[in-house]
């Protein structure tokens, strides 16, 4: 998705773009994600700024592609599970509001106006109208098609070509060389490997997540609904399995249930304990789901960097190399802003956001 967005915005800035992927379109984490466009789970800071920019850009894209990519500006509802949790959640929301997020407290007795099927007795929530959703594989495919970029799927990059002075000249693939004055690393969870081909370190690591998909249902879950613990899990550095329920309906009918996080490398083994915890969390939030059937489950690997911020922008260590990866679980949402900022960097424009927090070389000293 991030690669597709880079192709789209770079193309609109007048650049010729060739998109290279070793797999098919949306074959990596994009095809395994839920398509979250969220501001609600982000604390004030550079990631939230990127999310707000991205959300505006998604809104613009939606005018062109909305139905085709199943764009739904449905809003998010973050539910507290205890009175203490509600206090903390409301404090968190207050900070977000100061940073430009629309965040409306919802009292416990008004929750069912927003989500009629929520469990009774919950203390309260915060409603985030800016949260939205797309179908990520469709979004990537349609953006790519409209971008006029040349698409080379099934091409594995085996090297980053560099001039004697170290400047990037293109990439070598298993099916031939491609010459270009700029190379964008949008390899997601595998972004660290691509950086290594260019001789630089970028510590992108996989964080596995499972998603449960139910049978098709009429619209019973209207927003993206999740428990407040989710925010803590996202920011956590633990390697152990963490799950916090994230429940949402889709345009196609099934309900999607996330979100689990574990650091187990690229292990694709099905984990019953992980999906069991997802089911338990979801049925606690929405008791009607008890009898609803899960039809399938899939897994993906979020690309995360140690400080949970993506790498976006030029790499000062290798002239001509740009990074656009490491967005963890927010890559679909942050793709538009990332693509836009990369296009600005490529065309030597002043970026809309300060790229310093996203500097790809920010981990260098830590390695030394």
């Amino acid at each position: 998705m991030v690669g597709a967005a880079c192709a789209w915005y770079a193309g609109r800035a007048g650049l010729d773009v060739i998109l290279v992927d070793r797999g098919p379109v949306a074959g990596g984490t994009t095809g395994a994600g839920e398509g979250n466009l969220l501001v609600s789970d982000k604390e004030p800071g550079p990631e939230l700024d990127l999310a707000l920019l991205s959300g505006r850009l998604w809104g613009e894209l939606a005018r062109e592609f909305g139905d085709a990519v199943e764009y739904e500006p449905k809003g998010g509802v973050v539910v507290a599970s205890s009175p203490d949790g509600l206090v903390a959640l409301e404090r968190f929301a207050e900070g977000q509001r100061a940073a430009g997020v629309a965040a409306e407290p919802v009292a416990g007795d008004r929750l069912h106006d927003l989500e009629p099927h929520l469990a009774p007795g919950l203390p309260g929530a915060v409603h985030y109208p800016q949260d939205a959703q797309v179908m990520p594989a469709l979004a990537a495919a349609h953006l790519l098609r409209a971008s006029a970029a040349r698409l080379l799927t099934g091409h594995t990059v085996t090297d980053v070509l560099r001039a004697p002075d170290g400047t990037v000249r293109g990439v070598r693939t298993d099916r031939g060389d491609i010459h270009a004055p700029a190379v964008i690393n949008a390899a997601g969870t595998w972004g660290g490997e691509l950086a290594a081909l260019a001789g630089v370190r970028l510590p992108v690591l996989p964080r596995r997540g499972f998603v449960l998909v139910t049978e098709p249902l009429p619209r019973r879950v209207r927003h993206k609904v999740y428990a407040a613990d989710y925010v803590a899990d996202v920011a956590s550095d633990s390697a152990a399995l963490q799950t916090s329920p994230v429940v949402e309906g889709t345009a196609a009918g099934p309900i999607l249930i996330g979100a689990s996080r574990e650091r187990v490398g690229f292990d694709r083994t099905f984990s019953l304990p992980a999906v069991r915890a997802l089911a338990a969390g979801a049925t606690r939030l929405f008791p009607f789901l008890e009898r609803v059937r899960a039809m399938r489950s899939y897994l993906g690997f979020r690309p995360y960097l140690p400080d949970h911020l993506p790498a976006v922008g030029p790499d000062p260590r290798v002239p001509g190399l740009y990074h656009a990866c490491g967005h963890e679980g927010a890559g679909i949402g942050l793709a538009t802003g990332t693509g836009h900022l990369i296009a600005q960097a490529l065309t030597a424009k002043t970026p809309d956001l300060d790229l310093a927090p996203f500097r790809p070389d920010r981990f260098a000293e830590e390695a030394a």
């Binding site: 049978e215 249902l217 009429p218 059937r293």
Partner: protein
């Protein structure tokens, strides 16, 4: 015409009544929903979610989920698997099978 029941010398107990959308039809002990509906000349009992097209039995062994039907208010049952009991209420199904 020779029937499968005759072919194997079946001697089921007396037929009983079930309903399909309120209309009474006969069923034999041991018959599945699909078998009783076929015997009553009914071959479709579900409208698809998208186009509302008629569907009934396809794979006959519970794999394809085409024969979904509502039995005693329980939606999305596979007609080819579920046996009938006297008084069962079968309802044809539209959309997701769940009421809005």
């Amino acid at each position: 015409m020779r029937s499968p029941l005759e072919l194997v010398g079946a001697q089921p107990g007396p037929a009983f009544t079930v309903t399909l959308d309120g209309r009474e039809i006969e069923a034999l002990p041991g018959q599945t929903v699909a078998a009783a509906l076929w015997a009553a000349g009914v071959t479709s009992w579900r409208g698809t979610r998208g186009q509302g097209r008629p569907r009934g039995v396809f794979c006959g062994i519970g794999v394809c989920f085409d024969c979904l039907v509502t039995v005693n208010d329980r939606p999305n049952q596979r007609a080819c698997l579920v046996p009938l009991h006297p008084g069962d209420a079968i309802r044809t199904q539209e959309g997701t099978g769940h009421d809005d």
